[in-house]
C-alpha cells in the first residue's frame, strides 16, 4: 500500500518516518491470552492495554514499528482460537488476515502448544510470510513441557523464536528473524486432517514430564472448589471494595483535600475579590455560602466543578482501577465468571458478564464497551441495561457518602442494597420477556500469573487518562450550563413541569427535579446539587436511588447509543426510566407506611 493511504500518518500529521517509502503491514496474531498485547507494546514502543484475560481487545490496535531498516504498521489482531469464526473477535481476525500482510508475527503459547496450533496452522495455510514467537517458554519449562524448536520449525516450515514477552527476552531475535519470514509449505486442509497433522506434530516435538504442585496451583484449586471458590469470590469482592474505599478516602484526606484547601482556595479567594459581584463570578466561583467559597456547594466551574472531579472522584478512580487491573492481570476475573455463572444465567447472560459489570463500578462507559465480550445481541442488551440501571459508577459512589453519609452509613448501605435488588429483579424480568438466544459459558481459565509492575502501571495510567479526558469537559460544561439555565430561569420551569411526578409520586420537593434532570450530564454534580436542598434522610435516599437508576450520564448515553443502536437504546432508556420511577414510588410508599 502507498504511504498516502496509511491512516497512521494522517493521525500523526504527516510525520511518518518513512515518508519516502511504502509502509509495510505487519500483523500480530495469536490465541487470546498468549501475551500478544505485551508484544505489541514492546514492539511499537507505544502502549496498548495488555491483560491476562481472553477477549479484552475486540476491535484492534495499531502502531508503527521498525524492522530491517523499514517502517511498518503493526496491527494487534484480536485474539482468536480459530479462523472458522465462532465469535466477533474471530470474525475480525479473519477479516484482517484476508486483507493481506507483509509479515505475520504469530504468537504461540508454549504451555498450550496443541491448542495454539489450530489457529497457527490456519494462518500458515494462508500462504503468507510468517515468523513464529513461541512465547512463555519459561513457564512451559517450569511446567515440565519441553519443545524441540528446530524440529517444530521443520514441521511448520517457518522460523520460530523462543520468547518471554513480559521480560522482553527474545524480542530482538524476533525482530531480526522477521526478515527471514517464510511462506509455509502447508496447504489448506480440512478440519479433520488438520487435527491429525497437529497430533503427529505434537508427538514429534513435545515431551511432557511430571512437575510439582506450586503455591499458585493451590490457589487455583481453591478458586475452582464449589464452596470455597464461591466464598473466595465474595471475599475478593468485599475486600476489594473495602480497599478501594480505604485507599480513595486516604488519597482525599492526605493528598487532594490539602492541595485544594492550601493551594487552590487562596487562588479562588483572590479571584473572588478581583471579580466582585456579577454573572462572571456566579459562573466561575458560584454562590458564596455564609459569605465564603464552599468547594462542595458553591457550584462554580472553578470551585465545585474542579473539586468534584479532582478532589472527590479522581481518588476513587485511582483506587478502583489499581485493584481491578491487578485482578485482571493476575487472572482472577475468569474465575469470578465461573463463580457468578449460575446466578447470571438466571438473567440470560453468562458468567462472563461479571467482568463488564465490575468495570461498570468504575465508570459505566468502559463497562458497556466491555459487554462486547458477550456473544449475542440479546446478552449485550441485557448486560448493558443492567449496568446502566443497577451499577453505580465511582462518581455516584463517591458522592453517596457526601449526600447520605451525614444520616449514617446505613443509608449508604441501603442504596447498594436497593440497587442490587433492582439489578436482580430487572435481570430476571428481562430474561423472561426478551426474545432471542443467549449462548452458554465456555471459557479457558488462564493460570494465575504475577502481573508485571510495568504493564500494571501502564494500564492504570491509561484508564485514569481516559477517565479524565471523558469526564472533565462534561463536569465543567455541566456546571456551566446549570448556572446559565438557573440565571435565565429555565430550571425553575423544568422543576414546575415535573413537580406532579416528584411531589405526588416520589414524595420529593419539586426543586429536586433540577438535580435529577442535571444527572443527564454528570451524576456527581447532580448529587452535589442535592446537598443545598436540605432534604430529609428518606427523601435524600429516594432522590439518590432515582438519580442513580434513571438516565445514565451523557457519556454513558452516547456509548449506549453507539453499542445498541437507536431502537435498542430507546428501549433501554425506557426500561431505565420506568424502573427508576417504580422503585422511587415504591420507596416513597414504604416510607409513608412505616413512618
Amino acid at each position: 500500500m502507498s504511504c498516502r493511504d496509511c491512516s497512521l500518518c494522517k493521525v500523526r500529521g504527516n510525520k511518518c518516518p518513512s515518508i519516502s517509502q511504502d509502509c509495510g503491514r505487519v500483523l500480530l496474531m495469536g490465541n487470546p491470552n498468549v501475551g500478544k498485547s505485551v508484544f505489541f507494546s514492546r514492539l511499537t514502543g507505544t502502549h496498548a492495554l495488555s491483560s491476562n484475560y481472553p477477549g479484552t481487545t475486540v476491535g484492534f490496535t495499531e502502531g508503527t514499528m521498525r524492522y530491517g531498516g523499514k517502517t511498518a504498521r503493526l496491527i494487534d489482531v484480536p485474539g482468536a482460537y480459530t479462523l472458522d469464526p465462532t465469535n466477533e473477535a474471530e470474525m475480525i481476525a479473519r477479516r484482517i488476515l484476508n486483507d493481506g500482510a507483509d509479515v505475520v508475527i504469530l504468537v504461540i503459547d508454549a504451555t498450550a502448544l496443541e491448542r495454539n496450533l489450530v489457529m497457527a496452522m490456519q494462518v500458515l495455510e494462508h500462504g503468507i510470510p510468517v515468523v513464529i514467537a513461541l512465547n512463555m517458554v519459561d513457564e512451559a519449562r517450569h511446567r515440565g513441557i519441553l519443545i524441540d524448536i528446530p524440529k517444530l520449525e521443520e514441521e511448520l516450515g517457518v522460523p520460530i523464536v523462543p520468547t518471554v514477552a513480559v521480560t522482553g527476552q527474545g524480542l530482538s531475535d524476533l525482530i531480526a528473524k522477521m526478515e527471514e519470514a517464510k511462506i509455509s509449505h502447508l496447504q489448506p486442509m480440512s478440519k479433520e486432517v488438520r487435527w491429525q497433522v497437529i497430533g503427529e506434530v505434537i508427538t514429534k516435538v513435545q515431551t511432557v514430564t511430571h512437575r510439582h504442585h506450586t503455591a499458585m496451583d493451590r490457589i487455583e484449586d481453591v478458586s475452582a472448589h464449589p464452596v470455597l471458590g464461591g466464598i473466595m469470590g465474595f471475599l475478593v469482592l468485599i475486600l476489594g471494595f473495602t480497599a478501594i474505599r480505604f485507599v480513595g478516602e486516604g488519597i482525599i484526606t492526605h493528598v487532594t483535600d490539602p492541595i485544594f484547601e492550601n493551594l487552590w482556595m487562596p487562588v479562588l479567594e483572590k479571584l473572588n475579590t478581583m471579580l466582585g459581584e456579577g454573572p462572571v463570578r456566579n459562573i466561575l466561583i458560584g454562590t458564596l455560602i455564609d459569605g465564603e467559597i464552599d468547594l462542595e456547594q458553591s457550584l462554580g466551574v472553578l470551585s465545585t466543578g474542579l473539586y468534584v472531579e479532582f478532589g472527590m472522584v479522581l481518588p476513587y478512580i485511582i483506587a478502583f482501577y489499581s485493584g481491578l487491573s491487578f485482578l485482571e492481570d493476575f487472572g482472577y476475573l475468569p474465575r469470578l465468571a465461573v463463580v457468578f455463572d449460575a446466578l447470571l444465567h438466571k438473567f440470560g447472560i453468562h458468567g462472563y458478564a461479571i467482568i463488564p459489570t465490575l468495570l461498570g463500578f468504575g465508570c459505566n462507559v468502559p463497562g458497556i464497551l466491555g459487554t462486547r465480550v458477550l456473544e449475542s445481541e440479546r446478552e449485550r442488551f441485557i448486560a448493558a441495561t443492567l449496568i446502566s440501571v443497577g451499577i453505580p459508577c465511582v462518581s455516584i459512589q463517591a458522592m453517596l457518602s457526601a449526600t447520605l453519609g451525614e444520616f449514617g452509613m446505613i443509608y449508604v448501605a441501603a442504596v447498594y442494597g436497593i440497587l442490587f435488588c433492582v439489578w436482580l429483579v430487572l435481570g430476571r424480568i428481562m430474561h423472561l420477556t426478551l426474545k432471542g438466544y443467549s449462548p452458554e459459558l465456555i471459557v479457558e481459565i488462564p493460570p494465575y500469573r504475577m502481573p508485571s509492575m510495568k504493564a500494571w502501571l501502564n494500564k492504570l495510567w491509561f484508564r485514569i487518562k481516559d477517565f479524565l479526558y471523558e469526564a472533565t469537559p462534561l463536569v465543567l460544561l455541566g456546571i456551566f450550563l446549570v448556572n446559565i439555565l438557573e440565571t435565565i430561569g429555565v430550571m425553575e420551569k423544568v422543576a414546575k413541569a415535573l413537580s406532579p411526578i416528584f411531589e405526588g409520586f416520589l414524595g420529593l420537593p419539586s426543586a429536586t427535579a433540577v438535580p435529577i434532570v442535571m444527572g443527564v450530564f454528570r451524576k456527581d454534580i447532580a448529587m452535589g446539587l442535592l446537598i443545598p436542598l436540605e432534604l430529609s434522610a428518606s427523601q435524600t435516599l429516594i432522590a439518590v436511588v432515582v438519580l442513580a437508576m434513571t438516565f445514565p450520564c451523557i457519556a454513558t448515553f452516547i456509548i449506549l447509543w453507539k453499542e445498541l443502536g437507536t431502537k435498542r437504546m430507546l428501549m433501554s432508556s425506557g426500561i431505565m426510566i420506568t424502573a427508576a420511577l417504580l422503585t422511587g414510588g415504591l420507596m416513597n410508599l414504604f416510607f409513608k407506611i412505616i413512618l
Binding site: A112, E114, R143, D221, H225, A342
Partner: protein
C-alpha cells in the same frame, strides 16, 4: 454417561460433543472427541463445570456439560498434573 455424571477428580475420555456453535467453541479450545479430561469440580446451583485438559483449566456451562458424552476411565493412569488434597472431602 455425560460430563455432569463424572465424579470430581476423575478422568474420562470425550466420546461426543454437541453440534453447532457451542460444539465449535469446544473444539476450538481443544475439547474434542478422543481427548482425555479430568473433572475438577462443578459449581453449585447449576453452575459451570471446571475441567482440566492438557494441564489447562476450562469452564463449561452446566447445560453444555450435560451434552458432552464421555466414557469414564476405571483406573486413570497418572495424570499430567498431580492434584493435592487441600481440604477434607466433606467441605
Amino acid at each position: 454417561m455425560n460430563l455432569l455424571q463424572v465424579k470430581d477428580e476423575e478422568s474420562a475420555v470425550i466420546k461426543s460433543i454437541p453440534q453447532g456453535e457451542s460444539g465449535e467453541r469446544l473444539e476450538a479450545l481443544g475439547l474434542r472427541v478422543g481427548k482425555r479430561i479430568r473433572k475438577v469440580s462443578g459449581m453449585p446451583f447449576g453452575g459451570p463445570i471446571t475441567l482440566l485438559l492438557d494441564g489447562r483449566h476450562f469452564a463449561v456451562a452446566h447445560a453444555i456439560a450435560g451434552k458432552i458424552e464421555v466414557e469414564g476411565l476405571d483406573s486413570p493412569p497418572q495424570p499430567a498434573v498431580e492434584k493435592s488434597r487441600l481440604w477434607p472431602k466433606f467441605i
